[in-house]
């Protein structure tokens, strides 16, 4: 099943939640919609599910116009951030719900429903919870039951809205791995929304980075991390140092200081320099593009994180390996191993 949205626009009052979004998800993919809150990612997901309607644009599921159908007809599995389980039903009845409300003509008999629910409970590895009520489960268990409930109707596509957003860090990590292997097993075309970059990069085949109702970049997890397409993506994914620079006549300047950085092919004018924290290499004074003084050092497992003041007076944070220890007050040179300069 493919999902395709074309030129989707949605406004809430004067706020443009979606501002012309185009996206195609191929059959069997697991795509992450990644962005800060207010970027429009949840709105996009809800429109695909039929829980919200766009002002303009098209949604095609498997090539058919989905906007002609309501949520009920779309046959889409939806998993909510806060589970949205039915509190008055047992786990078993929650999962069976989608099967029990089917039109009489296609409804399975009781034995088949039981068999299907059992199968799903096994799939999410919670068959021993079948008679419990949702309030008796932990957050991680609830979310797995919510997923089983969504899968019960054999949905054409699966949509997950911040599925792990309400869970604590440890459970989140476990469920991420679990979701990836589950997707491998059932292979249903899936989109999940997250604001957690680590989650997106770890789970998805493809990542869609959104900001202010627009798609900034679509690419593999490697692409968006290693080859960010815009200043926003570079700043949002991974820990970045951002410095305002001027490009003039093939020279990059920070304040009034020229930097020994290649400026080939850059448009002149105000620009922004991005460097990953761990790509800033520490050397003796005078050895790199920047001169700096160490102001504060903290040790973080394999790295030492140093707060340094550049000669222009700006403070940045760098991650340096622990082999050569930095001391407060040290004068150092900094050379960006890799960097990107974006106009604007």
């Amino acid at each position: 099943m493919t999902i395709e949205v074309k030129n989707l626009v949605k406004t809430f009052g004067s706020f443009r939640a979606l501002d012309g979004v185009d996206l195609k998800v191929e059959s069997g993919e697991l795509v992450a919609l990644l962005g800060p809150s207010g970027s429009g990612k949840t709105t996009l997901l809800r429109i695909v599910a039929g829980l919200d309607w766009p002002d303009a644009g098209e949604v095609l599921i498997n090539g058919e116009d989905a906007l002609a159908q309501g949520a009920r007809e779309r046959h889409v599995g939806f998993v909510f951030q806060h589970y949205a389980l039915f509190r008055h039903m047992t786990v078993f009845e929650n999962i069976a719900f989608g099967l029990r409300v089917q039109p009489r003509a296609v409804r399975k008999d009781e034995a088949a429903i039981r068999a299907r629910v059992k199968e799903l409970l096994d799939l999410v590895q919670l068959d021993w919870l079948s008679d419990r009520y949702p309030s008796q489960l932990s957050g991680g268990q609830r979310q797995r039951i919510a997923l089983a409930r969504a899968l019960a109707i054999e949905p054409r596509i699966l949509l997950l809205d911040e599925p792990f957003g309400a869970l604590d860090a440890k459970v989140r990590k476990e469920l991420r791995k679990w979701l990836r292997s589950l997707h491998h097993e059932i292979n249903v075309t899936s989109i999940f929304v997250t604001h957690d970059q680590e989650e997106a990069l770890e789970v998805a085949n493809r990542v869609v980075v959104m900001d202010k109702g627009r798609i900034e970049q679509i690419g593999s997890p490697d692409d968006v991390y290693e080859r960010p397409a815009s200043a926003f993506v570079h700043g949002f994914i991974g820990e970045s140092i951002e410095l305002p620079v001027q490009v003039e006549g093939g020279v990059v300047r920070l304040g009034d200081r020229p930097l020994a950085l290649a400026a080939d092919g850059l448009a002149p004018g105000a620009s922004r320099l991005f460097v990953r924290r761990h790509d800033m290499l520490v050397g003796p004074p005078g050895s790199g593009a920047f001169e700096a003084a160490v102001q504060h050092v903290r040790n973080f497992g394999p790295v030492q994180r140093a707060e340094v003041v550049l000669s222009g007076g700006r403070t940045i944070e760098i991650d340096a390996p622990r082999d050569k220890e930095l001391r407060v007050g040290d004068a150092i040179g900094l050379e960006p191993r890799r960097y990107r300069i974006f106009a604007g």
């Binding site: 009920r72 039915f86 509190r87």
Partner: protein, 283 residues
């Protein structure tokens, strides 16, 4: 109350102090306000021999008065349950001009002196009244008939249903309806299978309160009822009549029966409500 137990409990270290004092006050207050008057009622009715008691109860007039009171109160509570739910739904789920006004209007039967309500309803539904005249033309006489009692009981009962269900519906996450929809449930299936079961405990409480209020209602009913013995005479009025005839024991006998029946009904509803609640354990 056993003084030794209270002091032993109070002497133990507690994170929340004041147990002895508040518990003592609670027990004395409830005794003075509720238990002692009820006990007095039972004691008074003991002046009658069992045979007299039975005769009073099974007299045609008493039975009819009880039937009118409980039967119409039950019917009115049923109507309030249905209409109150619809009112709550509209008030909670939709935003429309005048919503706050309607929300405030719901409380009017609470606040209005019941005699005022009775006079207003009687004027409205009398044969020459605004609503009474067209209804009389259709052949339905409301004022001074049991139908009038029914109308008054609906009037005073509706806020109980609305006010108990409203907060629960407000807390009900709209996402569960979306979840039901995306799982293929029709709107009707969502209401029957998801929304109503979630509201059931509150609906039962609202029903019980509206019923209890209607059974005990006196002021607004006696104006519109016509108070025809055996036809439109409510049990509380019969008690008043017996009292004015100085037949105190008769009055208390009827009162005891009302008390017991009310208690049994409230107890049953309470059990039912607990059972419904147990299926929705707190989060």
């Amino acid at each position: 109350m056993n003084g030794g137990l209270v002091s032993a409990l109070a002497a133990r270290r507690r994170t929340l102090p004041g147990f002895g004092l508040t518990m003592g006050l609670t027990l004395s207050w409830l005794s003075v306000i509720i238990l002692i008057p009820l006990a007095g009622l039972f004691l008074k009715s003991l002046e009658l021999s069992p045979e007299q008691f039975w005769n009073i109860l099974t007299s045609r007039r008493t039975l009819n008065a009880l039937r009118v009171s409980f039967g119409l109160a039950f019917a009115a509570a049923c109507v309030n349950l249905v209409m109150g739910s619809i009112v709550v739904w509209a008030l909670v789920r939709y935003r429309f001009p005048g919503r706050r006004l309607f929300d405030a209007i719901v409380d009017v039967p609470f606040a209005l002196p019941t005699a005022v309500a009775g006079v207003a309803l009687t004027a409205l539904f009398a044969e020459k009244g605004w609503l009474g005249a067209p209804l009389a033309a259709l052949g339905l006489k409301v004022a001074f008939t049991p139908v009038g009692i029914f109308v008054a009981m609906i009037f005073i009962g509706i806020p109980f249903v609305v006010r108990t269900v409203q907060p629960v519906l407000q807390d009900l996450d709209p996402e569960i309806e979306e979840a039901a929809g995306s799982l293929g449930a029709s709107r009707w299936q969502t209401i029957i299978r998801v929304i109503l079961p979630s509201l059931a405990p509150a609906l039962l409480t609202g029903f019980a309160l509206a019923f209890a209020r209607a059974v005990g209602e006196y002021g607004s009913v006696i104006f519109i009822a016509g108070n025809l013995p055996n036809v439109s005479e409510i049990a509380p009025l019969l008690i008043v009549i017996r009292l004015s005839e100085f037949r105190y024991a008769d009055a208390t006998a009827i009162a005891v029966v009302m008390l017991v029946v009310s208690f049994v009904v409230i107890f049953a509803v309470n059990r039912l409500q607990r059972w419904a609640q147990s299926r929705i354990p707190a989060r």
